[in-house]
Symmetry: C3
Subunit: 205 residues, 3 copies
């Protein structure tokens, strides 16, 4: 079970890093910039969560495996970006899996550190979407996770389910599993069917 | 007194969150993006301050009321943005009140955690303007608080007065009150009379 | 020796702050915005490093000298920006010195706080380039340190040498000196000869 979770965790890291590398290639950054965006996309969310709950130094820095995997994904994205572009659909599915895993485990970790359910859910969401926000800010564009179909909302739903499950005394790993499944399912359906949240209509010119 | 301060604190949170929601509506973010910008504008400054002085987890995460108020403001901004746009003047005054309160209380908290007067003043300023910076960065524009009329400078003056008062041994709550009043007064006059700091003239084309 | 290191440290702070001030002037920020960008460029890297290794409050806040030097550089940049523009070459050399020093000392500090060699090297790099990233994000442009000739790579090489030296048991200050020299030399040669990392070619229109 633990090995399975670790594998999922590293897979999520790889996919998030790949999204950073692809964005860097599109913005014509050099090899190093590609690696930086890969790492930023993969570990920023977890690092911000760890700093906020006081778990310093962050796990992404104390275990070299996350940065190693992120750099490997960066190199892969640098070398095979044309191929990855064509794989957009599978990548989106993997990305949804990474989001689900990060949101659920992030909420669990925040609860372990004594935060309340509301804050823990928010930190779980931040674990999931923080990497995408950092990635987009580094190339000076409005973070796509604030605009994509039910992206952060899916993370929020997954994290909330984890918090509720723990609050109700459901034993691990069921709250984590339910939260991750809910997040993945919601995001998957949103991609499939183009589900969107309402957008306010600002006064036109 | 404590209740009055808490009310002011929540009012400042609400107004800052409203400014984030309005910016999000203007950038056509969806409902969730509006809530994120509302929360970012309301609590980022305090969170950065708390992380820097080592007070983790930050108060904005341990007390749910701040996020609840920020989300309420986000919903209000989403629903009634046209109305809020027309109220620009009252909102600017409330925003000045929020800035004054955050700068004064932020400086006080940093002093309580043992920082020197100069650093505490800077952290007070950061408490006041950090939310506006995070809000603007999330839509990839140069933070308006670095350009508006005496915005950050008013926060700096208010924080400095708090630090000086504490240094001189003036008993609470007078340093806080004086600092908040100075910040509010300065910002109010700057809005009224369009006071500006000098701008350097870069070499023309 | 310690005095010499402190002098170098403050010189690096001054030069980094100057780069922030120059960017602010070019973006027509007011005097306060110039000071903010000067401080952000000078101390952000060190502050992020200190927060990540759990050394709060950060050194840049507990010792007033860094902020004082950064503000002095900001004022100088505001007043004499035309002159500084003409001195671009000497400033680039000083900037390389600042980068080398920050990367080496940042890696050393992270090792002192018990991080592994890989993470410490990354934190050293972050100490060196973090200020430039913060400076550029504040005016909403893609950080130049992700694009310049071997900028972050030089910091990485210098930090890595420090970590290797410490790992091999070489006594201080030799690892620090070797790391700083390597970083400076690499960056200097890259400026001289226009050395670049490869850039991936995204699919054309």
């Amino acid at each position: 079970m633990a090995t399975f979770l670790l594998l999922l965790d590293l897979l999520g890291t790889f996919v998030f890093a790949l999204s950073g590398a692809m964005l860097a290639v599109r913005h014509r950054l050099d090899l190093f910039g590609v690696l930086v965006l890969a790492c930023a996309a993969a570990v920023s969310g977890g690092i911000v969560r760890d700093v906020l709950i006081g778990a310093t130094p962050p796990a992404a820095l104390t275990h070299a495996r996350y940065l190693v995997v992120a750099c490997a994904a960066g190199l892969a994205g640098f070398r095979w970006h044309a191929l990855v572009e064509r794989l957009r659909n599978p990548v989106q599915i993997l990305d949804a899996a990474g989001l689900a895993l990060f949101a659920a485990s992030g909420t669990g970790k925040a609860l372990d550190y004594g935060l309340g359910p509301l804050s823990a859910t928010l930190l779980g969401m931040l674990s999931g979407i923080g990497g995408g926000i950092a990635r987009d800010l580094l190339v000076a564009r409005t973070p796509v996770v604030l605009q994509a179909e039910l992206y952060a909302v899916a993370a929020l739903a997954g994290g909330g389910l984890v918090a509720l499950g723990r609050l109700a005394g459901v034993p691990d790993p069921w709250p984590l599993a339910a939260g991750a499944a809910a997040c993945f399912g919601l995001r998957f359906m949103a991609i499939r069917h183009g589900w969107q949240l309402p957008v306010a209509r600002p006064p036109g010119p």
